[in-house]
C-alpha cells in the first residue's frame, strides 16, 4: 500500500510561504540595504547604527525581520535540494534533506538568537 508521506507536504508548504515572502519583500530590501546608499538616493545615516538599533528595539520590527529572514531560507533549501537532484547529484552520506532543511533550521535558530536574545 502507498504510504502517505507526512513530511513532504510540510516542507512544500514552507517552500511555498517562503516563496511568497521572497517575491514580495526581497527586491526592495536588497535595493535599500545594498544599492540605495551607493546610488546617493539614501543618506547612510538612515541605515546607520543608531537608527538600526532603535528599530530593533521594537517587537513588531523583530517579528517582521524574523519572517523576512527565516521563511525564504526554507524556500531556498527546497529549491537547492531539487536542483541538486536535477544536476544528477544522488544522496551523500548524510541525507540531502538533512543537509538542506537542516541548514534552514540552523538559520532559524541563528535568527531567533540574534533577534530575540541579543536585542
Amino acid at each position: 500500500m502507498y504510504k502517505m508521506d507526512k513530511k513532504e507536504p510540510f516542507w512544500w508548504g514552507m517552500f511555498s510561504v517562503g516563496g511568497v515572502v521572497a517575491a514580495l519583500l526581497a527586491p526592495i530590501h536588497i535595493f535599500i540595504s545594498g544599492l540605495a546608499v551607493p546610488l546617493n538616493l539614501l543618506d547612510a545615516e538612515v541605515l546607520g547604527y543608531a537608527q538600526m538599533k532603535a528599530l530593533l528595539g521594537h517587537p513588531l520590527v523583530k517579528i517582521y525581520l524574523f519572517v523576512l529572514v527565516v521563511l525564504p531560507l526554507y524556500h531556498a533549501a527546497h529549491r537547492i535540494r531539487f536542483s541538486l537532484y536535477e544536476l544528477g547529484v544522488r544522496e551523500f552520506r548524510i541525507s540531502m534533506d538533512i543537509l538542506c532543511y537542516g541548514g534552514a533550521l540552523i538559520g532559524t535558530g541563528l535568527a531567533a538568537y540574534i533577534l530575540f536574545h541579543l536585542f
Binding site: 516563496g19 511568497v20 521572497a22 517575491a23 514580495l24 519583500l25 526581497a26 527586491p27 526592495i28 530590501h29 536588497i30 535595493f31 535599500i32 540595504s33 545594498g34 544599492l35 540605495a36 546608499v37 551607493p38 539614501l42 547612510a44 538612515v46 541605515l47 546607520g48 547604527y49 543608531a50 538600526m52 538599533k53 530593533l56 525581520l65 523576512l68 529572514v69 525564504p72 531560507l73 524556500h75 531556498a76 527546497h78 529549491r79 537547492i80 531539487f82 536542483s83 536535477e86 544536476l87 544528477g88 538559520g107 541563528l110 535568527a111 540574534i114 533577534l115 541579543l118 536585542f119
Partner: protein, 137 residues
Amino acid sequence: MNLHHEDYQHKVYIRRKSPTWWLRNIKYFMFMMRELSSAFIGAFLLLFLYELFLISKGEAVFNQFQTSLRSPAFIVFYVIALIFALYHTVTWFGVVGRIQQVKVGKTKVPPSLVTASAFAGWIVVSIAIGLFFFGVI
C-alpha cells in the same frame, strides 16, 4: 489469472542526465536560473542577518562593516542578487493565478486577475517599505 506484485522483479530505470543538460536550451537555462535565484536571496538574507548581529558588537564594528559593504565587490553582489530576486518575483507571481484558485462568493476570479493583484500588491508593499526608509512614513 493471478498476478501478484511480488512476482515481478522491478528494476528501477534511472535515466542518466548529463550535468550540463540545462545549458542545452534557453528554457532549461532559465529554469535553472529560477532555482538559483533562491540561493542569491538566501545569501543576501544571511548577510543581512550578519549585519543585524554586528549591531550587538558596537558602533565601530558595525560602521566598519557597513563601509566595506559599499565596496565594488559587494555592490556587484547586490546588483546580481537584485536581478535574481526580481526574476523570482516575476516568475512566482506570474504563475500564482494558475496555481492558486481564488473565489469570491461562488464565482472564480480569472487567473490573470489573481496575477495582476499579486503584482499590484508587490508594488504597494515595496513602495510602503521604501517610504518607511526614506522617512516619509
